[in-house]
């Protein structure tokens, strides 16, 4: 799943523009991810600051 490090995020919207699923949205200074996210990692790659991270699902 996608983890947003809010202390790092510069809320610029770079990630939103490349998301193939349209799963990200920038609401003023708050980046939201919805359940369309496939954890493809494109957003994490392009982020100028490294605020996004795809983490392995923890299976319970």
């Amino acid at each position: 799943m996608l983890e947003i490090h809010r202390d790092v995020c510069g809320y610029c919207g770079c990630c939103v523009s490349v998301c193939p699923e349209g799963a990200l949205e920038l609401i003023d200074a708050y980046l939201e991810v919805d359940d369309h996210c496939t954890s493809c990692g494109i957003c994490a790659k392009v982020c100028p600051l490294g605020a996004l991270e795809v983490k392995d699902e923890v299976k319970v």
């Binding site: 610029c12 770079c14 349209g22 003023d28 100028p48 600051l49």
Partner: protein, 397 residues
């Protein structure tokens, strides 16, 4: 806020503001909504624009001009530089704006022309009627309201979502997003009338690094790199930090901003039934320079003109709005986007040695005007091989 307007404009940047101003001047009822609490902030821009380009839409005003430009410098990967001088040495060729004040001024003008403005107001869904866009659901401070409009202009920037909700795919390919970072630095030694561009695969892979003066001993120092080249440990900020550390070790950073700039081709279609897409949301940024302020104002203005006519005629479908799409593509701006896309595609594939050779071909170029077209023509004169390598451009030069 009423429940019905002729025109709903989503986004309060230069595209939205000029669209709202033009439509309001034409006598239409207009609502402009901006999701952020303040127009123009935070800045997402290196703030450069050409002199004539700016004057086409607004009279220059010292309140929002940070610096007047007289020349530009391109620095090769090996450090050699090429100076671009105006034909008439010392004449003004462009500006670095203060976007916080500039954007606010444009919205001010839109309001002055009669447009309603709402900040901290977000369009969260389109209102669809028989497949056509007829306004939007607006959210403001926890309240939701449906606002109907004959035509909606999506000018919601690089992070645009509205058009996507209306069925238009706006995804920027990962290799064509410029992942960008910029510091506003002060107490640094710079030429306060010169923009400097640094090229090279080590400095800024598939992009460039810039120093744009912002007044006394102050500049926007920023970088854009291809999303393809970005990753952990080698992001835009990493490259910028490395540059700043050696170039301006004593400089003080008083602002740090980030952003994404699309350098892809524009959307295949920038209209739908009841919808026009303008500015960065339409992906009309210049793919070579990454400049988008003029293109935003141009498309915003044209969007409002075409919308105004369509509303007057009472036909609001995509066919009635196509003059917008066709219009900007056929304009000087549209042709420059297409041409510069090819030049960009060529340049990003060149190794540093080739970039060095091109820049070594002249110490100083006299430019009859400060356009990328003039620059490319001058470079071709000095690098005959480029003519063959850029053969695809032949018709447009």
């Amino acid at each position: 806020m009423k429940s019905r307007y002729d025109l709903l404009v989503i986004g309060g940047g230069p595209a939205g503001a000029i669209a709202a101003r033009t439509a309001a001047k034409a006598g239409h009822s207009v609502l402009l909504v901006e999701k952020r609490p303040a127009i123009g902030a935070p800045v997402r821009c290196a703030e450069g624009i050409g002199k004539e380009a700016l004057a086409e839409f607004v009279e220059p005003d010292e309140r929002w001009i940070s610096a007047e430009l007289k020349r530009a410098e391109i620095v090769a990967p090996d450090g050699a530089s090429m100076l671009l001088e105006a034909d008439l040495a010392g004449s003004k060729v462009g500006y670095i704006l203060d976007r916080k004040v500039f954007d606010r001024e444009l919205v001010w003008q839109a309001a002055g022309a009669g447009a309603e403005v709402m900040v901290k107001t977000r369009a969260s869904a389109p209102l669809m009627e028989q497949g056509a866009v007829r306004g939007a659901v607006l959210e403001t401070c926890g309240e939701q309201k449906k606002v109907h409009a004959d035509i909606t202009i999506a000018a919601d920037g690089v992070e645009s979502k509205f058009s996507r909700w209306c069925g238009v795919d706006t995804t920027v390919p990962v290799r064509e997003i410029m992942s960008s970072c910029q510091y506003l630095m002060t107490d640094i030694d710079i030429d306060e009338t010169c923009t400097t561009f640094f090229l090279g695969n080590k400095v800024a892979p598939e992009g460039y690094l810039w120093i744009f003066p912002k007044g006394r001993r102050t500049a926007n120092v920023g970088i854009g790199i291809s999303g393809k080249k970005s990753g952990a440990g080698h992001r835009a900020k990493d490259y910028l930090d490395r540059f700043v550390k050696t170039r301006f070790p004593e400089g003080k950073t008083i602002e740090c901003i980030v952003g994404g700039v699309s350098v892809c081709r524009p959307l295949e279609r920038t209209v739908a039934d009841g919808l026009i897409i303008a500015g960065d949301a339409g992906r009309v940024v210049d793919p070579l320079t990454g400049g988008g302020i003029y293109n935003a104002m141009y498309t915003g203005n044209l969007a409002a003109e075409v919308a105004s006519k369509a509303i007057g005629d009472g036909t609001l479908d995509a066919a009635a709005l196509m003059p917008y799409d066709k219009g900007w593509r056929a304009s000087t701006m549209g042709k420059a986007i297409e041409r510069n896309y090819h030049i960009k595609e060529y340049l990003i594939k060149q190794p540093d040695e080739k970039l060095n050779a091109i820049i070594h071909s002249a110490k100083c170029l006299d430019m009859k005007d400060f356009s990328t077209l003039t620059l490319v023509k001058e470079l071709m004169k000095r690098n005959p091989k480029l003519v063959a390598e850029l053969a695809v451009l032949k018709a447009s030069l």
